[in-house]
Symmetry: C4
Subunit: 175 residues, 4 copies
């Protein structure tokens, strides 16, 4: 695993994407703008984007699996993943162990997995997977560990952009 | 029906608008900013604009009917359309079939109908109606199918802008 | 009352402000960003700014009364005005009649009243009062009827800016 | 205590930070964007940033204590501070007295305390502490009283930026 990766050139990015079979997404800051609405009774809400669902449907049609990996157990993550119809791993103190479990269960190598994150708690996974992606407004400390940074920010089209990118590459001929 | 339309020149746009008798609106991304607030119990909320209601009142005064067409059944769409006092068709897997049903029921041709959308699931309707409109922040993949793109983004004045445009054209003399 | 007013020069603005004894505020689009959060059961919420409260306290200290005038009856307006500790007139179909009632009750002339609005339903009041103010993101159709437009937009500091302006003028010496 | 301070040069800022043992934060406008969501029944909600929690964990690891000081008693402040796992002083009409009590209880001098605020009600504390900080969108009237202004705005990374700054200084060698 290499640190301080740089953005891939177009051909290498396309080749890497063709090898990916599963995309794991962090939740807060990726499916959301990393904000949380706090109510008087302590309950929380988050803001997601409708267009992400259309993107994930594309991935499914392309034979790419999607999964959400979130450190903190939170009912809003459960609610959103259920609505999106994708798997969700929560309450994993160790995201790196979680991604390896996902890989093993799916019979995939870590090089066949992409991960989309946004902050320093994603570093162990970003360093482990074949295609580490960060959102447009990721924390500066993680930028060096990503092979691709989305133009869109978290909760504002970043997930859809990743899905559209995969569709564009996988639907195009050869390299 | 022609694909890959271009923005109409002012005179053609005015002539097209004078022929329209009904405007159908997508909900998410048009009446809203395409975001959804997700609560711990799975309930959802959306953010709309107060000024849209004043615009729809103008349309009614001009004799133009308004209707919301939404693929997914969602209580927030019901709640908002009731508050706005306009009709609402939900849970229509096929938006194209829904718009044709609306046209038939109103005794109108599809060329007398405008539609305002924002994403790829609106394509079948955008390609069918007389005046296909997309919002300022519509997905790039639908821009080519619109005769008019609003300056304002969804949930931030796009609906009001359409209503103001119709008022301006219909209240002006001749062509 | 003159239509199509222009922004006042600094000296005239200061003289006009020194004559004002009461400021009436529209609610939606002035205390809020003109957005409404719609829940599945039809309930609504709005987004206000904490700093407005500090501004209104300044007005009170300066001997200027504040009142909210809102066309539509809405529990969120009641809730917010109660929290801010200012009077609130709701469910007034005719805002112009409401402002005249406020003036009469306070023993003031309309020239001693300022009004802060944002859209076309505020026109009858903007045209009637001594100091018509609109927010930074007011609808283009009302700009010509204002003597002052705030730099800040509705729900993002516009109310505070008006209060700060009054404080600055009223605390300065002479003209 | 000096008024009208200016931003510190890098070396003085670093030396000042090395002396700080506790950071007190205002809540509204610092942990939030100074907005409040108002519901029909008068309940309120605020919008916070997930990344702040990661920043506060860094402070704890560096041996710096954190505390929230809020004038108004509000259940959302209680809820958020509990989630973040930091102390919270509410319902203190006099913030200056509160900060002195915090200092005494912790056995610290006011010069060993930093405070992060955003508006005029923070002035008595900003003028009292060793390192007065304001957020990127603080009210103009408090800017002159800060030794440091964050680039990020309240509720949008300001707290995290302060934590990252402390980490950067305290982890670097010497001066």
């Amino acid at each position: 695993m290499t640190d301080n990766r740089r953005a891939l050139d177009a051909a290498t990015l396309a080749r890497t994407i063709r090898n990916i079979r599963l995309i794991a997404f962090d939740f807060d800051g990726v499916f959301t703008d990393n904000k949380v609405y706090v109510f008087q009774d302590g309950r929380e809400a988050v803001r997601c984007t409708r267009s992400d669902g259309m993107g994930l449907n594309k991935l499914t049609a392309l034979g790419i699996r999607s999964v959400i990996i979130s450190t903190e157990p939170n009912p809003v993550v459960t609610a959103r993943s259920r609505k999106l119809g994708i798997d969700c791993i929560q309450n994993c103190g160790d995201k790196r162990a979680a991604i390896e479990e996902v890989a093993q269960e799916a019979g995939l190598g870590l090089d066949q997995i992409a991960f989309v994150g946004n902050d320093i708690n994603d570093l162990p996974v970003l360093r482990a997977v074949g295609l580490p992606i960060v959102v447009g407004d990721a924390h500066p400390d993680v930028l060096a560990y990503a092979s691709y940074q989305t133009k869109m920010t978290g909760g504002n089209g970043a997930v859809r952009e990743v899905c559209d990118l995969f569709e564009q590459i996988l639907r195009s001929e050869g390299e």
